[in-house]
Symmetry: C3
Subunit: 205 residues, 3 copies
């Protein structure tokens, strides 16, 4: 007779899926936030609520981890994966908060492009989480996230060159740079999530 995973342990997969779906909500709020004529303060407030929901979800995973004897994969990896998903949301929320704090009203085109990259990365991450159950078809997810991250990187560098090109006054350069640095950090954080999933798959292989 083989021990079956109990439903409780199995619930980690659903919890990660929820956390990743929350990133999709967050990324879509970022897209809204930088649209022309958006009510930026209201959207940033929604993103803050989203970040709190993410914190709750992370703590729920940690509590479940403490109550569970047999976990579907290494305890530490569950911990790392939950933390890394949390980090993505933190960066996105910080970007939104800075937009409001700095009262930024206009965004160079590259910013829109960067946020779309984040939206796509969030969707890919949310689609990948249920596949942790079978450890199948995770390869495409890493490859696509890495491709996206490279693309985001190109956009980011061109945006820096544009910002420093002399068109903007210095304080505007500094404020926009703070925001796009957070967006770039969010893209890196998505790659980190994918790397942790890769490590888990490598261990389980």
């Amino acid at each position: 007779m083989r021990l079956r995973l109990t439903p409780r342990e199995d619930s980690f997969y659903d919890m990660f899926a929820d956390s990743a779906n929350n990133l999709v909500t967050g990324a879509r709020l970022l897209v809204e936030l930088i649209s022309d004529g958006a009510d930026r303060a209201a959207i940033a407030e929604k993103l803050r609520a989203c970040e709190h929901a993410g914190d709750e979800a992370t703590h729920a995973i940690m509590r479940r981890l403490n109550e569970t004897f047999i976990t579907p994969f290494d305890r530490e990896d569950i911990y790392q994966l939950a933390s890394s998903i949390d980090d993505v949301m933190d960066e996105m929320e910080e970007a939104a908060d800075l937009v409001v704090l700095y009262k930024i009203e206009e965004f160079p085109k590259g910013v829109i492009h960067m946020v779309e990259v984040l939206e796509r990365a969030a969707e890919l991450t949310a689609e990948a989480m249920p596949r942790l159950r079978s450890m199948k078809e995770l390869n495409e997810y890493w490859i696509e996230i890495n491709r996206l991250e490279n693309q985001g990187d190109q956009v980011y560098r061109k945006l820096l060159a544009h910002l420093f090109g002399g068109e903007y006054d210095t304080l505007t350069v500094l404020k926009l740079k703070e925001v796009i640095d957070r967006l770039e950090d969010a893209a890196d954080a998505f790659e980190k999530v994918a790397n942790i999933v890769e490590t888990i798959a490598v261990k389980e292989s």
Copy 2:
């Protein structure tokens, strides 16, 4: 008969307590450093000595790790914990060094607030280290460090908005920003220490 931990192995707890106490000393020097009329060069020099003492303490832990067969918790976690405590000190020392290099004479109020957050985080960390022995009551430590980190984050963001508000000349903005970024990194590094303690407790649970 059950093998007892030898005194040698047990000494890791004391070594971590020493390292964390060193962070308290460092954080208090930072508070002094930004006080009105402080002899900044002399205090930064003391912080450098403090950072060297921290390096020594870290290396002592690493040497002990290499000599010890049975460790109280995972070798890698001992390594990670020692490194992360070291990282906090590096950020604090770098902040102090930049204050002197840039000859910064006046600090916005938020900087004082950020440094007080670091002082409190150092005290909490020093109080938590001895509790690694029993793995008891570590929960409050994480929660409080996370609360502090969030508070520090709010102060940091308001400080950025203040810095970029037009009151300061650009070079002053850039110099102050370098310093407060190091303080923010130190706050993040304290959170990293707490996360590693959390991982250790999760594993041992």
Copy 3:
């Protein structure tokens, strides 16, 4: 009878050596890039090719990892080591790309010094990789990398003070700072590689 490591598994050592040798090539291209009268666009292009070669080498290690049953050391550590070597190259390539994007023509002396530190760190890393086989004489490597990183840090801080000293216009300050921040990140990434090697040695000890 004791199972012998098959030649295939043993090949990880050679693969890490190749990856590290690629860092030496990259660092030397950086030295060229900042020389007076260099064809910067052409050299940055070579660095990009170098970075692609590094990506290929990293993926080859990951594929080998997935095919190999018994690895010379922990699967995760192989993964971490490969990733961290990859990170160094990414930072160096990004620095070169920004130099071209920003059309930077002149470099303060400290930049040359920083790049020489990177070249030396790359050489030390390449020399250390073959020693993973015996786990012998790795101590000197960490100590020397840490010494170099400290030296690089001093150069970096003096360079910041110089940049913010009032000699340069603000946009030039910002552009140069972006580049030297990437060089500093590359130095930190070399230290990270050394720390992972140290963790591996600690585990295997």
